[in-house]
């Protein structure tokens, strides 16, 4: 399993060394715009401005103070309802106002409001044991009735986002056994329910809760909402009797700022202590102020960038073509020009950072000669090849442009279709392309493999793969599950349709003294339950 880095040892990157052209550009405020051009950054990135890592404050956070942290939101569509919001700003807020049954830490599911989730021997039911001694923000005790209500509410047909859990559990049939035990009937056999529950964004709400205004948003989390305005900010106060130890900061203000440059400006101008999701070009130009740092989310929490090949048509159906593309592309060049050094090459597998991830699979060596031979042998030489991209993550379109260039160099007649993010997953459009640019955060393997299999144009119809994934999800034996995930990943490494070429850092800009920003599930929406300032 790969090691994740959490707040205590997350990395700090800053430009050091003598005055450079880059340093001067940053001073002039021109860094971001100028350095966005890959051509410019390629020629000067090895000078004094090379990213250097050191550590964030290691001291413990002191009690008290107000934190002001900026995250991308969705403007007026921000919502206190934990079944509605999808942006980082929403998810950060849910995670400190509410608790989940299980939550991710170091890539594995850790007990939160549930202390155990046991599937029965026949695979028909799953029994949840709930934590005792937990109180809601209004002082009332947390019980099984709250969990039953949460599950039923989540499964109701009028929810904006359907829950993936419904594929595995019959949520509406969940029943209370006693105050701290709930039984959920399963739809298919689930071997490791804790991991599925941890990855499902299931925030536990109070029995009877249906509307979520400032006054009736009651959670069990370390902070409670005192003020909220969609697209503007959320003001939160410490929940003194939080079951996992009260938070450090007295108050937290979450600022919803959609534009990345505006987020950075807010920190540089002293209006915020932290801005999440900073662009690579901004980071390269430096933190931009005394007492500020550019931080990475840690190696285990990088975002994997890649392409999913559509095996239902054209050249990608031939495993030789898939292999040729993997051997033929220049990953180093992609990493350099897209991540500007804030990342590393990858071994074609999505899911880095998750439990059971196979990082022993080597990164394919760059071998354009062999790639061209394979393409010729497959009769794909000179054949049209359509790449589709939308800017789901910063730099994805740039990566697709470079990818197309490289494919042309290998002899494919590659073309690029660039669409808006609203079109990216349009079914017809996906059918008409041979490769789709695809980013994926550090989610569990169960999510990574079931989501990609849901679209015929993203899936790899391979019996061994399907069997292994089914086993990995259904088996109750930890060793069997580990072996099944290994098999599934070996299949993908051997003949799969992923060309995951690199993993990019998730960057932020923060005040030096700010600590306790805990990546957990994703550094894009960290857990702030223990955030604070060091003395």
């Amino acid at each position: 399993m790969s090691r994740r880095t959490s707040s205590a040892d997350s990395r700090l990157v800053q430009a050091t060394g003598p005055v450079t052209r880059r340093g001067i550009l940053a001073l002039l405020g021109l860094g971001a715009a100028t350095l966005a051009s890959p051509a410019l950054s390629g020629c000067s990135s090895n000078g004094g401005g090379t990213p250097v890592a050191s550590g964030v404050p290691t001291g413990a956070a002191t009690r008290g103070g107000t934190l002001r942290l900026a995250f991308p939101g969705s403007g007026a569509a921000d919502s206190l309802d934990p079944t509605v919001g999808q942006t980082s700003c929403d998810l950060v807020r849910y995670a400190i106002v509410f608790d989940q049954l299980f939550s991710f830490d170091n890539g594995t599911a850790q007990p939160s409001l549930a202390t155990a989730a046991e599937p029965d021997a026949k695979g028909k039911n799953c029994t949840l044991t709930l934590r005792k001694g937990v109180t809601w923000h209004d002082g009332s005790p947390f019980t099984a009735a709250d969990v039953v209500h949460t599950l039923k509410h989540r499964a109701a047909p009028d929810r904006v986002f359907p829950s993936e859990l419904s594929q595995y559990f019959n949520l509406v049939a969940a029943r209370r056994v006693d105050d701290h035990t709930v039984v959920i009937p399963t739809v298919k056999t689930v071997g490791d329910p804790a991991t599925l529950l941890a990855g499902s964004g299931l925030y536990v709400i109070k029995n009877g809760a249906r509307s979520f205004t400032v006054d009736d948003t009651v959670g069990t989390g370390p902070y409670r909402v005192t003020r909220f305005q969609a697209g503007v900010e959320t003001q939160l106060e410490r929940h003194a009797t939080y079951w996992n130890g009260a938070g450090n900061a007295e108050k937290i203000t979450l600022l919803s700022i959609e534009d990345p440059q505006a987020r950075v400006n807010a920190v540089r101008g002293g209006q915020a202590d932290y801005a999440s999701d900073v662009s690579y070009s901004t980071a390269k130009s430096g933190a931009g102020g005394a007492g500020l740092q550019i931080r990475t989310g840690g190696e285990g929490l990088r975002t994997t960038y890649g392409f999913v090949l559509n095996v239902t048509r054209g050249p990608s159906a031939d495993p030789r073509v898939r292999k040729a593309i993997r051997l033929g592309i220049d990953r180093e060049a992609l990493v350099k020009s897209v991540f500007l050094g804030f990342g590393a090459v990858a071994n074609d597998l999505f899911g880095a950072g998750a439990q059971h991830f196979l990082d022993t699979v080597p990164v394919p060596e760059h071998n354009p000669g062999q790639a061209k031979e394979l393409l010729k042998a497959a009769g794909a030489d000179g054949k049209p090849f359509v790449v589709r991209t939308a800017e789901y993550e910063a730099g994805l379109n740039a990566s697709a442009e470079l990818f197309v260039e490289q494919l042309r160099g290998l002899g494919l007649k590659a073309t690029l279709i660039k669409v808006g993010v609203t079109e990216g997953f349009d079914a017809e459009g996906m059918k008409a392309c041979d490769a789709l640019a695809f980013p994926l955060g550090p989610f569990s393997l169960a999510l990574t493999y079931t989501r990609s299999a849901a679209y015929p144009t993203l899936a790899l119809p391979d019996e061994e793969l399907n069997r292994a994934v089914a086993t990995a999800i259904s088996t109750r034996s930890e060793t069997e599950r580990a072996a099944a995930w290994e098999t599934a990943q070996q299949v993908m490494a051997d003949r799969g349709n992923w060309v995951a070429w690199g993993r990019g850092d998730v960057l932020s800009v923060a005040k030096e003294k700010l600590t306790g920003i805990d990546g957990r599930e994703s550094p894009k929406y960290p857990w702030l339950g223990k955030a604070g300032f060091v003395a």
Partner: protein, 316 residues
């Protein structure tokens, strides 16, 4: 007002009503035809095709366009803007934010009117001189720069480097931007610079034209002081056109403010428009497009009516 102008005015208003009807159809169908599928756009890469189908059904996207348009437009007449994709009433999403945007444009217009009149007339009176040459060149340069470039520049220099004003227009939850005037300065300045350049150039041209009139020549020959000429002959000739220019500028500001609001994270309609286009939240985009279109249309009609009342044709 004469009977002729009254008849003209009622004709114009009837035309405006007809155009609003046509606009609603164009807006609804146009937004509906935006590339992409609102269901998959909303659910993102983590959804399955089945979930996207369910969402499509829930959003009513499986009904025919004509039927959806009819429901929307009848709702509009009742004052019901519908519900956004995440279930919130569109009117609730927009209400506070329209007010904030109105504050921004209102202050800009209030500053634009005296500033553009003073600048335009004084440049026009010195037409051909050095002051006019430098001034006109500066205005031309500013007109050519989009609002968001000016806004980004101000954010970097005035807020970032000099630290005189906040770089982000953050208004605490539950409070009004007017209670925090410092967050208004840079957004207003960005909008003002561009609209001022446009309006002053137009007013300068009107002044130059007015000064060429034979009766002004006559006043000068009779030894009337320049101030009196300005007050009695030039301003009355320039003002009707100036009012039209201000009305058109005010309507145009609504578009410019979207981009400026994004740069400063000002809590107006800009952020909503951009995020709802991005997430394919069609009911919100339709309401905003309809609102902005209607406002532009009404400003143009008002400018026409003023022109008719003052016996001049529209000069913009």
């Amino acid at each position: 007002m004469t009977r002729r102008t009254l008849r003209h005015a009622s004709g114009r208003l009837a035309l405006a009503a007809g155009l609003l009807g046509a606009l609603s159809l164009v807006v609804y169908a146009g937004v509906d035809l935006l590339p992409g599928d609102p269901a998959t756009a909303r659910l993102g890469p983590s959804s399955t095709p089945d979930q996207a189908n369910q969402a499509r059904e829930r959003l009513g996207l499986d009904e025919p366009l004509a039927q959806r348009y009819w429901e929307w437009v009848t709702g509009l007449l009742r004052g019901d803007l519908g519900s956004s994709a995440n279930g919130m009433p569109v009117a609730d999403l927009l209400s506070g934010r329209l007010g904030n945007t109105a504050v921004l444009t209102g202050i800009t217009v209030a500053l634009l009117v005296p500033a553009s009149l003073a600048l335009g007339v004084s440049l026009g009176r010195r037409a051909g001189g050095r002051f006019d040459g430098a001034g006109s060149a500066a205005l031309l340069l500013t007109v050519a720069v989009p609002e968001f470039v000016i806004a980004s520049g101000l954010a970097l220099v005035v807020a970032g480097r000099l630290g005189w004003l906040p770089a982000a227009s953050l208004v605490p939850a539950g409070e009004h931007p007017l209670g925090h005037p410092e967050v208004l300065v840079l957004p207003v300045l960005s909008l003002l610079l561009v609209s001022l350049a446009y309006a002053s150039r137009m007013i300068r041209a009107q002044t130059v034209q007015a000064l060429r009139a034979p009766h002004i020549e006559f006043m000068r020959l009779n030894g009337m002081p320049e101030r009196a000429i300005l007050r009695q002959a030039v301003l009355p000739a320039v003002l009707p056109s100036a009012v039209q220019i201000w009305l058109i500028s005010a309507a145009g500001l609504m578009g410019g403010t979207v981009l400026v609001e994004i740069v400063f994270n000002y809590p107006g309609i800009g952020g909503i428009l951009v995020s709802s286009v991005r997430s394919g939240d069609l009911p919100v985009v339709q309401a905003l497009a309809m609102f902005m279109g209607a406002l532009t249309l009404l400003a143009t009609v008002a400018a026409d009516l003023i022109a008719a009342a003052t016996g001049r044709t529209r000069s913009t």
